[in-house]
């Protein structure tokens, strides 16, 4: 599997499911997971983008430990992709606009939890390793991004 095939697979899973799970590691080493609404941006290959609030726990977890894993799955539950990588928290006005334009219309739940429209930051995950998995056949394909 090539890097671009893996990115296309993620895009296709997101088109189908809209959301994915982001796992981070807490300060004391325990795992934390939550649903997110991520996106792949055109011309920014090799990374996954999402938004979070400056007030959410995720921010402190990522500042303490940047290692993350994403899990994408289609609604039929027969296609899964995992992306391992490191997350940057980017506080930049133009970047916020770019990501919001891409995923803005799908952020209903996010805005219900976060009423301050100004406190938003971009979570950029730099993919280090991707794995695509078909549970029905057990087929697994790995791609190294480094």
């Amino acid at each position: 599997m090539t890097k671009s095939q893996f990115l296309i697979e993620i895009e296709s899973l997101l088109e189908n499911a809209k959301t994915a799970i982001l796992a981070t590691v807490d300060r004391d080493g325990s795992p934390r997971m939550r649903w997110m609404t991520p996106a792949i941006l055109k011309d920014r290959a090799g990374a996954i983008y999402a938004v979070t609030s400056l007030d959410f726990d995720k921010r402190r977890q990522l500042e303490a430990n940047a290692s993350v894993q994403w899990m994408f799955q289609n609604k039929g539950l027969d296609r899964i992709a995992y992306a391992d990588g490191k997350a940057n928290l980017i506080e930049n006005a133009s970047m916020r606009a770019e990501v919001l334009e891409e995923i803005g219309s799908k952020l209903g739940v996010f805005w219900k939890l976060n009423s301050d429209a100004g406190s938003l930051v971009v979570v950029e995950t730099i993919i280090e390793r991707g794995r695509s998995f078909l549970p029905m056949t057990g087929e697994s394909r790995i791609v190294d991004f480094n």
Partner: protein, 318 residues
């Protein structure tokens, strides 16, 4: 020179655009706004600095599809702009235009155009009307880097020069047209050199610094007004540098992340104002005011009525 009072006015305008756009992004996410919603966050210095140099009693603005910032910078009521995004009858285009069609004849804001580049010949036409009627106005024509390679742009510059039209063509180069890095589709990196092909003045300007934008546009507008000279400005705004397939994405250092945070036209002017001796408490109060205006705009839009079904058949010209 731009004094503290003028800087303060520019700062407040930029804050209003920022807070308004954040509110719009939120309402788009909550499905209050349908269709497209193109945000101007990060580019506030361009519309604010440039339009702040105009006298809108006699000057005109023609903008591209990313036009909320230009509408607010022209002094349009945030309520009418937000209601337009909501598709409500109280919107500036009666709710029929949406994000790409902000328009206000009294403010001389001639839209908001959804077709990339289509506003360039329109602005040239407004310039022709000014000369034809022997008025002393100037037109600012805004467009993105995605529009500059179109034939209509080149034809317009040529005509503007031949007819001596007072049009300032402003390319807002945010370095991407729908995810395409402008360097991949452009023969030159510096768009201002294109002015030379038509014997007009070209300048490349830092679009992160509202004062630089303001002072340059002021100067060039005066030339357009008094000497009937068109010009081309490339105003560069910043986008966090993208990476292509050949340039692998990498984990950022803390310094880089700090640097990205600083690249914000509002923070840049905020520093300047603090250096000028403006109180931090004043800056905070203005921010609160901008948030309040945006909140009120959203409430107004929310409470406004939908257009009547019959409105489908009104304002139709053909």
């Amino acid at each position: 020179m731009t004094d503290t009072k003028q800087k303060t006015a520019l700062y407040k305008r930029m804050l209003l655009i920022r807070r308004f756009e954040e509110k719009a992004a939120q309402m788009y996410g909550l499905r209050k706004i349908g269709g497209f919603c193109h945000l101007y966050i990060g580019q506030e210095a361009v519309a604010t600095g440039a339009i702040g140099a105009l006298d809108l009693k006699r000057d005109y603005i023609v903008a591209a599809y990313r036009d909320h910032g230009h509408a607010l910078a022209s002094g349009m009521d945030p309520k009418a702009v937000m209601a337009e995004l909501y598709g409500k009858v109280t919107g500036c285009s009666k709710g029929k235009g949406g994000s790409m069609h902000m328009f206000d004849i009294e403010k001389h804001m001639f839209g908001g155009n959804g077709i990339v580049g289509s506003q360039i010949p329109v602005a040239t036409g407004v310039g022709l009307k000014i000369r034809y009627r022997e008025e002393d106005g100037v037109v600012l024509c805004f467009f993105g880097d995605g529009a500059i390679h179109q034939g209509a742009f080149h034809e317009s510059l040529n005509l503007a020069k031949i007819y001596g039209l007072p049009v300032v063509y402003i390319c807002e180069n945010n370095q991407y047209g729908m995810g395409t890095d402008f360097r991949r589709v452009s023969a030159v990196d510096d768009f201002s050199v294109m002015a030379a092909s038509y014997g007009i003045e070209g300048r490349q300007i830092d679009g992160m610094d509202v004062i630089t934008v303001h002072e340059n546009v002021k100067e060039i507008v005066e030339k357009a007004r008094t000497e009937h000279l068109p010009s081309l400005l490339e105003i560069k705004t910043y986008r966090y540098k993208g990476h292509s397939m050949s340039d692998p994405a990498k984990y950022r250092t803390r310094e880089e992340l700090e640097d990205y945070k600083e690249r914000d036209p509002i923070l840049i002017l905020k520093k300047g104002l603090l250096e000028d001796g403006v109180q931090a408490s004043d800056l905070e109060a203005w921010d609160k005011e901008a948030k309040k205006l945006s909140e009120e705009a959203a409430s107004f839009a929310e409470e406004s009525p939908e257009p009547e079904i019959e409105a489908l058949y009104s304002d139709i010209l053909a």
